[in-house]
Every structure is written in structure tokens, then in C-alpha cells.
Amino acid sequence: MYKLLISLKKEALLFLNDKVGLVLMFGMPILLVFIITIIQDSVYQIVDNNKISLLVANHDKGDLGGKLVAQLDSSGMFKILEKNTLEPNAIKNSISHKEALTAIYISSDFSEKLQNKSQQLSNIILTDFGLSDSNTEKSTQIEALVIQFFHDPVLQENYCYSIISVLHAHLSVLESTKMIDNIYKEIGATSTSPQLKETIQKNQIKIERIVATSGSQNKIPSSTQHNVPAWTIFAMFFMVVSLGTNIVKERTSGSFLRIKTMPASFSIVLISKQIIYTIIAFLQVFVIFSIGLYVLPLINLPPLVFPDNIIGTIAIIFACSFAAVSYALMIGTLASTESQSNGFGAVSIIIFAALGGVWVPTFIMPHYLQVISLFSPLHWCIEGFYVLFLKHGNWNDLVKPIYILFAFSLLCQAIAFFKIKFEK
């Protein structure tokens, strides 16, 4: 027991003296949590908390362009900035100068073309119902109506599609209203039914957004809720650089041989390394999660919402740290040199992280990558944390990731054990 204690003391001292290791295992992930959370949160806020800035250049000579702008304004989704004198080139210039993220250019004949289009559509309907007089022309050629949409190149494709869809929705309302006006007029009604107009203008079918979690909470996931656990896992696995090098150094130095001549086993050395690095992994979680809980809200980022299942959280933290330590142990025993351990260890963790969903969720990956991601231990770590932090799942949901992580850990431990045992 005393041998284990002195080995733990030695490992702790070695780690505390490893300045590069400390920076890699604590400094780098903390920085990544801040940077990535801030970036993702600002993008998130563009379409969520904050309104999308929309520059409007309304050149329409009629009233429909103004109506469209009023509708967009009343939707609450946009922060409208009207500059009706701007031409397309000037709009591009304004966007490049960050005056707005998006812009629309409404041409001078917008009302005329929309009116014509509505008229043509109402004529078709009236003719089909036999309500049109013989003089009414039934045209099959409907003139194209174009609104130019400009956006900042940094705006992601899905946000652009969302905004265009909103524009389409409001244009449809305008078009439908105008079409009904035309039909009422053609059939000789004195005025359009106000009730019908109101029904068209206000979409009565509500779409309720529900986050699919096991628990009763219905909080929308924030960038913090993904990034804090994800980068903590990355930090845990990045210990391969420090621990792997530590093991290679010990194996290739004379101390490994010296210990072989002593009444002690090298397994004590390896066990003490694993205990110390598991403690370090828990410290990483404590530090990074504390930042998520207490520091991120101070810079207007969403706080980390800690799950109710504390024991489950400790279990998944332990499973992740054990997997990370075991992987580092395996790399440290298989590598012949420190460069091999550092290079392969770091690159493999970056690949595992990319595949495992640390940077982007696995569900948006192509199917074949989703299959490959199942072989990344970081994927199962993230799955475990997602169960608790996003899905508010229970123990049954945690069992699979924990079992897989322990199986992965045992495989790494077995490889390391046999490599050490049969090392020349």
C-alpha cells in the first residue's frame, strides 16, 4: 500500500511539473469552451433570441411592397432597416459593411406584377367555376415575380433557407388576399369578407415547438449545454499527450529496467498513473463545468443546466475518464518514442472528436460517417452526456454508453497489459 501511495505522490509531482501537460489539459479546453460557445451562441441568437437584421430597399410604386414590409415587421422576426433609395450594388456594399445580415430589394413594379399575377390566378379560378364572363382572358402564362434577397456570406445555408421561407409565407398571404379581392370584385360583391382576410393573414395553425426529452423539462438546448460537456470530453481524451508521453518516457528510460530489478511491479507504476490521471479528469470536469455554471453567464452566455441525476452524471464522468486514461495507457505502451505517442495520440483524438460529434452533431453527418462514428469512444461519451444534459434521460438510457465505454477501456487495458508483459 505504501508503494502505491509513494507512486501516487511521484505521479502527482510529475504531473504538476509538466507545464505543457497542464496547459493542454486545462488551458486549451477552457479556451475552446469560451470560443466555440461564444461563436455558436451568437449564430444561435441570430435566429433565436435576437431579431435578424433585414435591410429593405422598397422601390415599389404601388402599395403592396409597403404592405409586405409591414407584415415582415409585425412578424417580430426581423429588425427592419428601411433604405428605400438603395440600389442592388449599394445593398451589397451595406452588407459587406455589416449594416445588416440580410436585405431585400423590392422592384418598382412589384405591386403591378403581384396584382397581375393575382388577377391571372383569380381569372383561372373564376373561369373554372364558370363565373367568368366570356371577355375574361384565361392566361396560362403567369408573369414571374422576383424579390432579390441578399445575405452576408457568413450566414449559414439553413438560415438563408429559413428566411426565404418566411418571405414566401408573407408573399403568399399578400397574393392570396389580393386574389380574393379580385374574385369578390369579379363576382360583384361590394367588399371582401373581413373575416376571410383576417383568417388568411393570421395563420391560425400554431406550431408548438417541443424538445424531445425523456424528462418533463422543455428547455431549448443551448450552445453551452453542448459545448461544455463536449469540450470536457475532448480535454479528458487529450490527456493522451501528457500521459502517453509520461509512459513512453518511463518505459524507454532506465527507470523501467530498474523497477524490474526491484521488489516491486511495474503495474504499481501504471496503476498509480491511472489513478492520478482519473483524478485529473474529474478535476477537468469540475473546472470546466464550474466555468459553464458560473463564468459563462457573466459574459451573457447561457449557463450550464446541471442534470438532476447526480449519480448518473458521476457514473458517466467516471466511464469517460476511465476510457480516456485507458486509451492514453494503450498509446503510451504501444508507442516506441515520445514523438509517436504525441503525434498519433493527438491526431487520433482530433479524428475521434470530429467523428464523435464534438464539433458537429453526428446526426447531420452522412450515413456512412454515422456508422464510423460508433467506433469513436468520444461518440459514446457525448451520447452519455447528452442523455443527462439534453435529453434528461434515466439510468436505462445511460446503460448502453457506459457499457460500451467500459468495454473499450478493458480492450485498451488488455492491449497495454500484454504489450508490457511481452516487451523485450
Partner: protein, 244 residues
Amino acid sequence: MNVPLINIENVSKRYKNAKEFSLHNVSFAIFKGDKLGVLGPNGAGKTTLISILCGIMHQTSGKVTYNSNGSKHSIFGFVPQDFAFYDELTALQNLEYFGVLYNLSRKEIKERSENLLSLLGLSSVANKKVRTYSGGMKRRLNLAIGILHNPSILFLDEPTVGVDIQSKNAIIQFLNKLNREGTTVIYTSHHLSEAEEFCSKIAILDYGKIIAFDEIFALKAAHKADTLTDVILKLTGEGYRDHV
């Protein structure tokens, strides 16, 4: 009849996947109080032989018998060619760590550490990180750790390689002192003048075989040589022993 402390009989060693034996039917005896130098060109099998004798690896065939009380671990001291300690710890922290692995008590570790550091001229830097030490200081610490538990048989693999004349002198004087106090010393080196000065017996290895084993004066007389270097050159030739 004088019983050998270590008796080596027909010891052979072939590494996994190697075509040739690194040691081939090596036989000799080591007696208590010997200062045995194991010499030979690069790749002759010196380190393999030392590794087998001190239990780091097993021979492919043959037998090694130890006639001593106590476990091999407690009677052996090993000073490898590489620095076998932790650069980021102090000398005292290193000695404490290895002392515990040698099953020494805290009191024994404290007393012996202070004594050894004083004898080897390292007391003033005992609490400094080893990475700040010179090569000679590191060699002396390497030796101190190997003899912390008062071994009766000490194996040294090139203990003076890469150090200045002062550190070399201090190490050799210290080894002579240990030997006078009863420690049997088995040592490998490429410093033949140092070996000639220090050793009582020499085993010359070449291509994994013992090609000469005797006291130095007897070897010199048998080969009509003035120095140990001449003996070895006569026995192993002057050609390079480069191997990959």
C-alpha cells in the same frame, strides 16, 4: 572449497525473431568480493548478460545459480546505462520513491539518502530538480539510487559513460569503497584503462561468447600484452563492429 556467488552455466539467449544468438553457451563463476569487468566490442552481448544476471530478462537456455541469502531483489543493485530516475523530481524525492520500492523504512531512506548524497557530493543540490544537474551529477545520483538498499551484488552498465574526469574518479573511488566493504561488483564499460585500474577479473565477450576470462595480469601475460586494450584488440581484431 570456495563456492561461487553466482554460477553461470551454458547460458544462451536468442531474442524473438533474431536469427543469431546474442549469448551462446556462456559459462563462468563470480565469487564474493569480485570486481568483474565484462568487456567487449559493441553488440558482443554485455548488456544482455548483465540483464540476465540481474533478472531483467530470462535466458533462452542454460542455468544461473545464486548462492546467497535473501531474495534476488533485495541482494541485487542495478545501475543501468540510461539515467534511471525522474528529471522533474529532486534527488531526495527520487531516493524516497526508489527507497520505498526497495521496501526500506522511512528512517532507513532518510539516513541512507543523506549519507549517499554526502559521499557522492550531492548534498547541496539534494532539493533541486534533477533536470538542473550536470551529466556527472546525474551519473552519481544514478549510482546512489542503485545502492540505496545496500545490495551485496551490484550490477553496473557503463556507469561512467559521458562524465568528466572528476565525476569518473569519484564514482570509481566510491565503487572501490563499496567493494572493500564486501559488495561484489559486476560492471561493463568501454573505458578499458578504467576497467584495468578498477577490476580484479575480466570477462571478454565477443559475438555472444566468452573468449577470455581471467585476472588482468594473467590475461596480459597469456597474450604478451602491455595493456588490457592490447589484449582485447588481439582477441577481437581491429575491424569495425558496426551492426544495424
